[in-house]
Symmetry: C2
Subunit: 159 residues, 2 copies
């Protein structure tokens, strides 16, 4: 459960609410463009992952499917399928964007959602060959120090 | 699939991205408070429904569960359970808010997400007696013309 405690001790929840709060209180570097229509496109990409993809394949849902008696390989296929569908939608959303990040030359909220989702997709064995534009954005993120520093295995409490 | 076409013909997708765009381009009446921390709390409530609740019980997921061989009553219990858990979290998020809406005396993005989710919960037979604060917000919305006009059965293409 991602949470953030601000300097006054307030606890913020929900990843995208936290990102919007960071954008409003620490606006540089920006995670959203200035133009309202471009902002809507970045947010739609992020939400296509945060609402339509990630929740359907999270660990809690997969555990419940197992409890309901589904065999392990069907549960994995469920998760892979959710990833494939979500990433397919996202590939189309940025097909016309030159990048290299999802929306332009710098990371946005869209890239923040994409990078961990691609890691999930690989974990469930999804073939990512059909998503060249998403992989281009991921490659740009790999060259960015902030993304490298945020990798799960780089955190102080990583197992 | 909620979509919005703006005056220039651009197509916006994802409900919350559309709501944020409306807020930025048509700021009155506001759907978010001014203070960043309050905005984060409203967004966290909305996302607890839009990310953690609705996607797990939407029609596509329920149809897939049926395809996987789950009996109808187990699918309904899956949907009811997702609604109960999401609404329980939301009840706590606004327990300290006097209302009558989720966050104050006027509707916000939180109420826009809550009203349809309560309708879903009823459809799946969820007992809403344990959610007095959510029902108070819903009652306030029922007295609001904009909510009444937005009811599915009031739309020109309603079946």
């Amino acid at each position: 459960m991602p949470t953030l405690e601000d300097n006054a001790g307030a606890i913020l929840t929900q990843s995208l609410a936290i990102i919007e709060w960071l954008e409003e209180t620490h606006p540089e570097p920006p995670l959203l463009p200035k133009d309202p229509l471009r902002r809507a496109k970045v947010r739609a990409f992020a939400l296509a992952l945060a609402c339509d993809t990630h929740p359907v394949q999270n660990l809690k849902v997969l555990a419940r499917l197992r409890q309901l008696g589904l065999p392990k390989e069907k549960v994995t296929e469920w998760a892979a399928s959710a990833n494939r569908e979500g990433l397919s939608a996202c590939e189309i959303l940025i097909a016309g964007e030159s990048g290299p990040f999802c929306f332009g030359g710098a990371p946005t909220m869209a890239d923040l959602c994409l990078v961990p989702q691609l890691a999930n997709a690989r974990r469930f064995g999804v073939d990512l060959g059909g998503f060249p534009r998403l992989l281009k954005a991921e490659a740009a993120a790999k060259d960015n120090k902030a993304f490298a520093d945020a990798a799960p295995e780089r955190q102080p409490d990583a197992e």
